[in-house]
Amino acid sequence: MLTYTIRRLLLSVPTLLFISLVIFLLLKLAPGDPMAQVPLTVPPDVKERMREALGVGQPWYVAFPKWLYQFFAVEPLHFVDAAFGTSLGEGQQRVISWQTRSPVMDIVIQRLPQTLWVVGVAYVVAILIALPIGIYSAYRQYSWFDNAGTFVAMVGFSVPPFFSGVLVIVIFSVWLGWFPSIYDTTHKVSDWESFVFQLKQMIMPVMVLALQITSQLSRFMRASMLDNLNQDYVRTARAKGLGEKTVVLVHVLRNSLIPVVTVIALGVPAIFGGAIITEQIFKVNGIGQLLITAIQANDLPMVQTLTFIFAVLIVLFNLVADILYGILDPRIRYD
């Protein structure tokens, strides 16, 4: 298992390098010029030197290794400096945003908690709702509950988040006036009232994100339970005289959770992608919103870093899913 993990980790390095190269070359084609905002009174040769300072005109085989070095060596050093008060990365050039002229990673770290908070809560809520629904749907297959669950799940992954989000805003904040339609990220939780406000403003984005995940996960849980419910070991467990509760919730559930856990792991990067749209609807200033504004403002270092972070998430969670599968299911051996 350990050798497999190490092998996969090593294999993911070239994959990530290749992906970052693809992103880099794609962005190299971008028509934008970071000096477009500089006043016309600045003489052309000064502009040219400013471009050189930002490293714009370099060919890709020079710029790409430089970016790699900045991203994988300089940024972690600065991170260590900030955490322990050392000065390892002093004087080394960091990846600078063209929009704000400040280090890209600083902005990303500022924005990350908002996204993680909304996305994380939505994911946990979705899992907590989806698993019981899936279990009960499978246990009572073709009952009215199962049929209703199938229909709701079908609607859940057919309605795109940009419609369900707008719909809940129209219903809950325009007509009923229960929740604010804009997520206020500057809000601090200090007492009970502000906590209630935080809860209120989180309900709608979490609801929209959770609806999609719930509908997929509950279907998956149901299918996995159905596969196991007809197995011989279930009949054996019943024949031994075990209670129905033990049979379903201990024997069947533990076996059915194996594929579901991997699906949960695989879904994490997708939900970060989905959060791009949800953040745009509820005006959450997380990394999705940061990406959109960066693309619109032609801030290439920012776009590149964010896209690469999304790619890292995908590769990482694919790896996690595979390893989890091996750990949870003793029948699977990779060596």
Partner: protein, 324 residues
């Protein structure tokens, strides 16, 4: 040897063998969700195709002067049921937008574009997916390379890259094919190029399994060439997963196009698609919720119906379920 107990009906059944497709159709008909989905899908397609000929208002007409003040921000006709002072007109059943353009007309015109994008992108993605899947499954030398390529695509963060790519190539293609044709081509190619991976994987798996069967060996032993082998023996046998992913592909393509339009990376402003209509209406949805509801409802309905059709086709093509 005839059995005297056999009835005339059974005898007839026995003499005329039923085709596979009739069986599939019978099974498909029994899936109630799929039949409803099919009906809704056909209805929406008919509406968007025939609508602009039957419907009296021109979606591109922008009134000016006094007409503009009179026509802008008309509410849908049903609003009059609960709000008698609302500005409604029978000539504009779903009202007009803030420029006085007819909402129903734009909805129908937008549907044409959304459906055209969905179908074209689906065709492209199924074509690419099938090609790569068959090549990887049939030719062992290509398998490793093509599958690594597929894995690489699966590891790409698609939505961010789509946004970047739209921004990069929109102007260039607009210059070549005009603002509408260029964006259409760009979105179809981008959506098609980023959604073929699942099809490729499924087709490859099926081809790998089929390759070991006796009929393939028999075909090879009479000297069938690889291209003939693929088109004559392999493709017909992998039709069912291809059809399922084709139906589901329409849904993905429509959602992706709408998401791009919704984020402001889609078609030019005066060119309606459902996602674009939704995006334009969001700013004033407190006052005019209907402008958000109708396009959103159309997207959801078409995706829902396509998903149900896909479900029905999957069940109908599965011989283990068929005839139960």
């Amino acid at each position: 040897m005839t059995d005297p107990g056999i009835s005339a009906e059974q005898a007839e059944l026995a003499t005329t063998p039923r085709s596979q497709w009739a069986d599939i159709w019978d099974q498909f008909k029994r899936h109630r969700g799929a039949m409803w989905g099919g009906a809704v899908f056909l209805c929406i397609i008919l509406m968007t195709i025939a609508g602009p000929w039957v419907y009296w208002n021109d979606p591109k007409f922008v009134p000016t002067g006094r007409d503009f003040l009179e026509l802008r921000d008309t509410r849908p006709i049903y609003v009059a049921l609960w709000e008698s002072s609302a500005k409604v007109s029978w000539a504009y059943p779903l009202g007009t937008d803030n420029l006085g353009r007819d909402t129903l007309g734009r909805l129908l015109a937008g549907g044409r574009v959304s459906l055209a994008v969905g179908l074209a992108a689906m065709l492209l993605s199924v074509f690419v997916g099938t090609l790569i899947g068959v090549l990887a499954g049939y030719f062992r030398a290509l398998d490793g390379v093509l599958m690594r390529f597929t894995d690489l695509f699966l590891a790409l963060p698609l939505l961010p890259l789509l946004l970047v790519a739209v921004l990069l190539f929109r102007d260039r293609l607009s210059g070549l094919f005009g603002p509408e044709g260029g964006t259409f081509l760009l979105i179809v190619v981008l959506v098609g190029a980023t959604s073929w991976m699942q099809t490729a994987r499924i087709v490859r798996g099926d081809v790998l399994a089929l390759k070991e069967r006796e009929f393939v060996l028999a075909a090879r032993s009479i000297g069938t060439s690889p291209p003939k082998m693929i088109t004559r023996h392999l493709l017909p046998n992998v039709m069912s997963p291809i059809m399922v992913s084709a139906t589901l592909g329409i849904a993905t393509a429509i959602i992706t196009e709408s998401a791009l339009s919704f984020l402001g990376f889609g078609f030019p402003p005066d060119f309606p698609t459902w996602g674009k209509l939704l995006f334009d209406a969001v700013d004033r949805m407190e006052l005019y919720p209907e402008r958000v509801l109708w396009p959103g409802l159309m997207i959801s309905l078409i995706v829902l119906s396509v998903n149900y059709i896909g479900d029905g086709i999957r069940d109908a093509l599965d011989p283990r379920i068929r005839g139960r």
